[in-house]
Symmetry: D2
Subunit: 345 residues, 4 copies
């Protein structure tokens, strides 16, 4: 770390900083500049105490980190991209993964017709919320265990693998029985206890970026899963909170490019949360392919206008077929191809 001393600090006050740096286990290396001095603290920042506490000293102006805080998630430790296998399907290679299905599991007919439609269209994973995090306590909270039962049935009938959200540490085991991928939603992106519990399930974990998570923090949330022993982690960009009000969130495609550069983990894009028009969803999916995403997580519903949650952002079956058609030339340009389901389930 670099400790920046305020201008006009007396030598003995600089010495005080040098001694604190040494007391905390670093080797101090002072550099006296023209206007200001800095004290470089030599030592591994990830195993020594954070020197930011030195800001409590009045002569310290700033403390700058040098090292990155994530290790296991970093591409430096793993120069090739990772391939994460989920339900025996590899995610992150040349094949591009489509995860599609309704926002919420509403009933058997809705789920099964959707599963059939998205499998036909090219999906290999069925998404669908059994447990729904809703901003208001008065909104539909999902079918719970009955939703899980329906997901298991859809898997049985179609061969699609399942991705679904887990909201509570109490439910991790139950959800992991059905899900091939556990989804951690944006609202729980820094619910570290849930990340740890999901890690320990052994199931692949998809970590959505929080509404206002910096990329470093998002990778550190992934690092929680990795550091607790589970190497199967997928990142998911789903839109950040900005000043813009045209859309609910601002899908941050540049973050996909950065995540691919900084990390070896596969990156999935969920375009549905941010926009209220099918036309936008399709265009953003083309963009996602072009910036290097490894797959899409997209909401599809038989009759969006009557959905129990977030109908405005769900594609109908025609819209889903059109999506696949539109992204196909961009997949070719990116030298990728649509993933297919293994012939036997």
């Amino acid at each position: 770390m670099i400790v920046v001393i305020r201008p006009h600090t007396s030598p003995d006050k600089i010495d005080e900083v040098i001694q604190e740096v040494a007391a905390l286990g670093y080797t101090p290396a002072p550099i006296h500049g023209v206007n200001q001095s800095v004290v470089a603290a030599i030592g591994d920042e990830n195993t020594h105490p954070n020197l930011e506490s030195l800001l409590a000293l009045p002569q310290v102006e700033r403390v700058l980190r040098v090292q990155k805080r994530y290790r296991l998630a970093s591409r430096e430790t793993h120069p090739d991209g990772s391939i994460v296998e989920a339900g025996s399907i590899p995610i992150g290679g040349r094949a591009f993964t489509i995860m599609a299905g309704p926002c919420s599991v509403e009933n058997e007919k809705q789920l099964l017709t959707t599963a059939e439609a998205v499998r036909e269209g090219g999906a290999t994973f069925l998404r669908g919320g059994a447990y729904k995090p809703r901003t208001s306590p008065y909104e539909f909270q999902g079918l719970g265990p009955e939703g899980l039962r329906l997901l298991a049935k859809a898997k049985e009938l179609t061969g699609l693998r399942i991705i679904t959200e887990v909201l509570s540490e109490h439910d991790v085991e139950r959800v992991a029985e059905v899900a091939d991928i556990l989804q951690i939603g944006a609202r729980n992106s820094q619910n570290f206890q849930l990340l740890i519990a999901a890690s320990k399930s052994g199931r692949p974990v998809l970590v959505k970026r929080g509404f206002s998570q910096r990329i470093e923090e998002w990778l550190l949330s992934a690092e929680y899963v990795l550091a607790h022993g589970n190497p199967k982690v997928l990142l998911c960009e789903r839109g950040i909170r900005t000043f813009e009000t045209y859309t609910r969130n601002t899908l941050d495609l540049s973050a996909v490019a950065i995540a691919k550069l900084e990390s070896h983990l596969p990156v999935i894009v969920d375009p549905s949360q941010g926009c209220g028009r099918a036309e936008l969803v399709v265009t953003l999916c083309c963009g996602a392919v072009a910036v290097g995403a490894d797959g899409l997580l997209v909401e599809v519903h038989p009759h969006p206008a009557e959905a129990l949650s977030d109908g405005q952002q769900q594609l109908d079956f025609t819209g889903f077929r059109n999506l696949i058609k539109q992204i196909t030339p961009f997949l070719e340009a990116a030298n990728r191809s649509l993933q297919t389901l293994p012939t036997q389930k």
Copy 2:
């Protein structure tokens, strides 16, 4: 709700919207404007389905809510401010509450000397983290149950009431045995399962605003606690995420004024998370008093430069005494006075 139809929509397409509105249980009231039509949907928005799903229809341009989404937290339902009793101490009346103590419970000596100092200075609640949510899995995560034991000891010795954070549904019961107030941190502000579990404990719950929570969403997080049967809720503003990099977060004092206007719940301000200098903490506390806060949650440490977490934002004992001295005239201006501990514990 108001459903805005796109310009140049044909009458039969407007009828389609009218019928969907009726099918969802509202009474439709179309209004034909000069350039555009709108369909007002008459009915209680909080018990009928959300019409935003109608955005799935191409002729629908926007859907505007009319009603507020929170009810129990709203000042409309409770025009006088609420007083929340915690450990037999009333919060939210004329008396102004100081909650002070270290960021993390580190060891017995640290905690007990700090408890003594803040009680002398004017605090009625001791704060201190036994369970710490840390952005990186490699940072100090708190002493856990041992931290709780030390908090209980400090309470026993000083009479101070205890506020401490709970991170996991699994720990709610254990923390509630010691804590007079359960703190839900910013990272868990939309961890609805934790809010529900905290509600059910029956203990007062302090709900911190999330990094990027709109005020409406913050009040809806409080609504989760209220709707699950626990009326003892405190709101806490602790800084939001903005583009500014001078401070870690931007303490939003205007949100305090708005929360007092919109809600009857007491509002506490935590100035420590946002700023790295004692001087700023003191000034922001004066501001908090002036905009109507009911109390402060402030970090105090015997030797901030060596704190195990966030030393830069913690006041030392001299700094704490100075804080109390500085806010005193502003408390008088606000016609408030420092709360005192009941003589018998």
Copy 3:
């Protein structure tokens, strides 16, 4: 507009609102809901006074606009995309436009070698700042008129058309003599006097989105140019300000998709302002093509590490050739092709 009345408002207070709405020239249409009343104000919002002033009445809770505020920039008025001709080169059609060159014009050799290189690589426009808006008064402010002279010379020698920024109303005429497109930078995106002066020059005007401009506001800045009689407007997305600190700005590719949906104006993407690594620039350009951009504005410098401004974001000549190579398959996927210079200059 829709005027939302607070719950529990007495009929005579609702009447007061109805009368104010009528006094301001609208036809009021009150709707009495279950919990709240609203007063719809029938009339053209763009020629009547803004009813937001009614919020000054205590019984008014909110005022909601129905109509869009931009007209000439709107796709509704012009369903096909516009083609803007600049220096006899059409922008916005099937051909994809590359505008490239240094951040600042530094000297003759730097500019001419860069011009030659970008022309060879596939650019049709040369960019280069003669007047530079710099955050600090102590930073290099550009060569001014001498920079314009060098741009004119580069145009003469290479046939490339010129795009350059204008900072001051005083300079519009002088810049318009040399430039085929006047660039209005992000810092001046709501400098309406400059927009008006640029409009009156008759030259095509490229309007960059401000750091924190909502899309509606960006289109209204374009509307200033259009409404003052100049139909030749290009939009340019160049990154918005968010909480993210990995990059200087967050390039908002979703705004490109939205701008294409809402407006008929061509949209150019400037990826250079946001990122400090050539690798990212290239990936984001592929994304820009996929979301529907009509061209790129990209910084190229012979030796970026020694640039007088913003070297970190400039491509060298090899980087530029690689950029063109990388975007080519995505242009094909988007059914577009690189624009070429007319054979006679």
Copy 4:
């Protein structure tokens, strides 16, 4: 500056950085850490080139500035707060300045009755826009020169000093004839040519913070005025753009505290832009006093509901009297008193 080298960089690539640092005029001081090396560049950052261009080298990970970029605006160069005299009235001392008046000058009666009311109430400056920056070209743009004439008349009749906005370099001279303070609005906060022109007028200049200006950038905008020879600068916080939608902007009172810490310049708070309710304006003004503001810029209108611009945020005369009454005890707590007009005009 500190140049951070990527991990695993070979010694000759580190040498390349060292040589570039030396070539740019700094003395390089390499420090070899446990995991990564850094090269400290010794030299005055404000007179040497910005090393961020070195990010163009692939082995450079980050470049960190050490020094602050503003000098004349910095409190380090001027430890006591400045007092800026405008129209012979000192701003920034113990006396607290009230600047009040309508958003826009609409007509003689409106302006003169308001001027009379705010003078009675305790204002020393009359505010009122003759030139209005409006987001849409179709909105009321101000009376222009006729507005200036009315301001001059109001000054003549009441003795109030005048503050009014200037939008164009062309108008600086004309506005400076009437105005005691030139106001640079948020949309022009980085219109550097206008800042320079305002500086050269010799009149005091009030620099509003841009919608998304970091505090450092705001102080650098002030630095433009100072560096061009005019020491009479006032800072003005007026609300920043965040994700919150309850208010139009988020008034950032913490920025006032920081500006007072970092700079010697007086700070004025404009609470009107952010909020749509008189109640909030008053509370935020109390907060402004408590965090150290030197004055208020507040909108007052005889009949806000019929104002030609922004009626929702303007106080009526009763509201203004109430504001003064409410802030009075907080002024006492801050050891300040309301400024009074000198007895002879």
